[in-house]
């Protein structure tokens, strides 16, 4: 509590530093290997020359600079409200609102059907399928298959919305507890999965896969393993060997991989008071290890997939699933594949349930940031007051949640029923990356745009090449972001550079711009100048 070299009196708010481990847990769950990672790795076959391991390693290195940017910004303006407040103060209220409410608000509508997919692929289908197989219940087996249909995926999206509603209504104190429990359960699950993969050979996997695919998932007769490889080969797909580092071709995988690992900073806005260099280090270390430990874990798990499933098979299973040519009718969720390695239904259920904690411990984040930014913008009188309404009885931000839920339902329905959802999956990453771009630019110019604020912060003396560390690391991360934007916009494989995709993105930003302009006009009529509210009051 006391700082060295200072005399501190008893005063409210003087607290000890929080645990780095707790910060790490949040970051580790945000870069979620099992949900986001396994989901996006399944698209890697669409860039067949790339090496997933190389892409993970390179992207992790560059995302460390994102961790620098956010940890440094938190050190300058802790507890301030994150991107929205940082950008509003440094770049202006209009830019701050448009980038933040689109990136932390509206685009989360798009994450709802993506989360819905993950819930169906990682939780409903595997658990119901295995239960159905063991109990010989055609109802459960049919339910497992139903969850990968359009209706099943839409239903899963609705479940995601309900879960997010419950989590946020319970409040942060409960959500933090649930998340910590899920962290331990999920870690126990992944340890189980790793042990099972180490204890079995490829031959074990092939025979058990063929058995369960046939007996439990009605995948037909014969060697399903070979059929999947043959179907992929017939479509012209051959996975590049994992041993080939392939740096240049792997760069093309990075704009996909960031769907999974661009988020170690997700909790940055929640970190508390930064009283000095050690608190800056705490912020940095918790995010850094969240990113790096996950990166290392991803590499280990992928190497084990290669050893047990076979790298060709893992990629072919994913490729044929999305091409609709796989005889194995459900998503080849790695934990489900690993569960085939045992004939113990208890161990299978333990594995699948404990691995589902990766989803349940993290899915509340889908509306958490959104409701926060909606509240901040409502308090700034940009969004209407009713959006910040909280029920007295349950203390739930019911209207902000409704805005997110209604948008989530509409986008989910639109995505599931009108277009192939996965086509636009990376739009969800792109819009948040644009918000990060705003904060990165704010970070780069901060020491020059607001020198008083910068000099008064604990990071004022941190320099690299004689320049402020926040500027140097910001420029490096900016280059990385620009690379991502260039790739997303010039290569059709990511599904971003299509007219419909651009229209969709434009519509999201247009909503924010219209709200800001209309609100500015309306408030002006009320005698409230929105530009004044972030202006610095003269001192002398």
């Amino acid at each position: 509590m006391a700082q060295p070299g200072m005399f501190v009196r008893k005063a409210s708010g003087l607290v000890r530093s929080w645990s780095v481990f707790d910060g790490f847990v949040y970051s580790f769950f945000s870069v979620n290997l099992v949900t986001l990672g396994f989901y996006i790795f399944a698209f890697a076959p669409y860039i067949p020359e790339g090496n997933l391991l190389t892409a993970i390693v390179i992207s992790t290195i560059f995302i460390i600079f994102e961790v620098f940017v956010y940890a440094l910004m938190v050190a300058v303006m802790p507890r301030a409200g994150g991107d929205y407040v940082w950008q509003s103060r440094i770049l202006g209220g209009g830019i701050g609102f448009v980038l933040s409410v689109t990136g932390w608000g509206w685009i989360l509508w798009h994450w709802v059907p993506l989360y819905g997919n993950m819930l169906a692929f990682n939780v409903f289908t595997p658990i119901l399928g295995m239960l159905g197989g063991w109990t010989n219940s055609s109802g459960l087996v049919n339910a497992a298959s139903w969850f990968v249909t359009t209706n099943g995926l839409f239903f899963s999206s609705l479940v995601v919305i309900i879960l997010a509603f419950i989590y946020i209504s319970l409040g942060m104190s409960w959500y933090a507890r649930i998340q910590k429990f899920c962290f331990y359960l999920g870690m126990a699950g992944i340890v189980t999965m790793i042990i099972m993969m180490l204890a079995n050979s490829r031959a074990d996997f092939i025979s058990s896969f063929n058995h369960y695919a046939t007996a439990f998932f009605a995948s037909g007769e014969g060697d399903i393993y070979q059929q999947i490889l043959a179907n992929a080969a017939e479509a012209g797909y051959v996975a590049a060997p994992l041993s080939k580092i392939a740096i240049i071709p792997s760069l093309a995988l990075i704009p996909m991989v960031v769907f999974f690992n661009l988020w170690p900073n997700w909790g940055a806005t929640l970190y508390g008071e930064v009283r000095g260099a050690s608190d800056f280090k705490r912020n940095f270390i918790s995010m850094f290890f969240g990113l790096v430990v996950t990166g290392i874990l991803a590499v280990i798990v992928l190497l084990l997939f290669s050893r047990v499933f076979g790298w060709d098979f893992y990629n072919a299973a994913n490729f044929t699933f999305y091409e609709g040519t796989s005889p194995f009718g459900v998503f080849p969720y790695p934990a489900l594949l690993v569960s085939f390695l045992t004939d113990s239904p208890v161990l299978q259920m333990w594995l699948l349930i404990s691995m589902s904690a990766w989803f349940f411990g993290w899915c509340g984040t889908v509306f958490l940031s959104s409701t926060r930014v909606i509240f901040a913008a409502a308090f700034d009188r940009i969004l209407p007051d009713w959006m910040a309404y909280v029920t007295s009885k349950f203390r739930a931000p019911v209207n902000a949640l409704l805005v997110m839920a209604v948008g989530g339902v509409i986008v989910s329905a639109g995505m599931h029923y009108t277009e192939h959802l996965e086509t636009y999956a990376l739009n969800a990453t792109l819009v948040i990356a644009v918000t990060y771009l705003g904060t990165t630019i704010a970070a780069i110019i901060l020491p020059y745009k607001d020198p008083e604020l910068y000099k008064a912060s604990p990071i004022a003396r941190l320099k690299l090449f004689g320049l402020p560390l926040i500027t140097v690391t910001g420029v490096i991360f900016l280059v990385f972001l620009l690379f991502l934007f260039y790739k997303w916009m010039t290569d059709a494989v990511y599904g971003v550079n299509e007219p419909a995709s651009y229209l969709y993105l434009a519509a999201l930003y247009l909503i924010s711009i219209i709200i800001y302009v209309a609100s500015k006009w309306y408030r002006k009529r009320q005698g409230i100048d929105l530009q004044e509210i972030h202006k610095s009051i003269p001192v002398e």
Binding site: G5, S12, V15, V76, P538
Partner: protein, 312 residues
Amino acid sequence: MTTIFFATDVHGSEICWKKFINAGKFYNADIIILGGDMTGKALVPFIKDSKGKYRVNFLEEEMYLDEEGKLAMEKNISDRGYYPIDVSESEYEELSADAAKVENLFVERVLQMAERWVKFAEERLSQWGIKCFICPGNDDMFEIDSVFAASRYITVAEGKVLDLDGHYEMISTGWSNPTPWDTHRECSEEELEEKIEKMAARVSNMERCVFNLHAPPYGSGLDEAPELDENLRPKYAGRSLIPVGSHAVQKVILKYQPPLALVGHIHEGRGVKKIKKTLCINPGSSYEQSTLLGAIIELDKKGVKKYVLTSG
């Protein structure tokens, strides 16, 4: 029509006090109100060595400064709400071993600060005709009241029913419900309720009354602070937020339903909450960044006509 600028919890920040005083003119307010917790939390020693350099440890960084560097650093420290002090090595050791001496030094520095702040305010308020109300909060030692009370241009509002503009009255208290830090002006919920009730009994019309209460109402969302463990360490990296406001404040607001309640105390609780007929505002605090968070509220005969939170 009356325009109020309200801020709170500047915690000794020299720059935030100056901004508060200037905010009236900047935002065209008729009245400025500071909700409480004006005093800083730390003394930062500058220890002069034999070579004439000053050793100072600020934000966990040890620095050796010349006279020019010292002046700049003193400004930084004052703006952040701490008190720079000049001591020799032996005086530093002496202070480190004697808590009573440190406490006395705190009082001395806080009073010096208060005198400086009053002077700064009077130079401006005397010209502008803007009314200024302050109400020391739970973190403020009692000694400062008399310094501010001596000013012709600043009204210390604690425990009083004050006329704001000929139409609205205001009741104020900087006392809070118990905190883990055993601060100067905290009491039981019952005592707090009694303090507020005593003032409320003297209000002529509750529909024309502003409650200026440092502690926010319990469970309003304006009172959410990081949950702490028994060692005052934030749980779950500070992500677990729990309500820590006052039940007494909640009770009196629900009972009297004044049009406006101005609260503070919980820096993270920036926001607005309508409780029955009462608009409750906690502007929050970012004094460490030299940013004055505030609220502009316009009152007409019917109540709150408009409001906006500011970040200056």
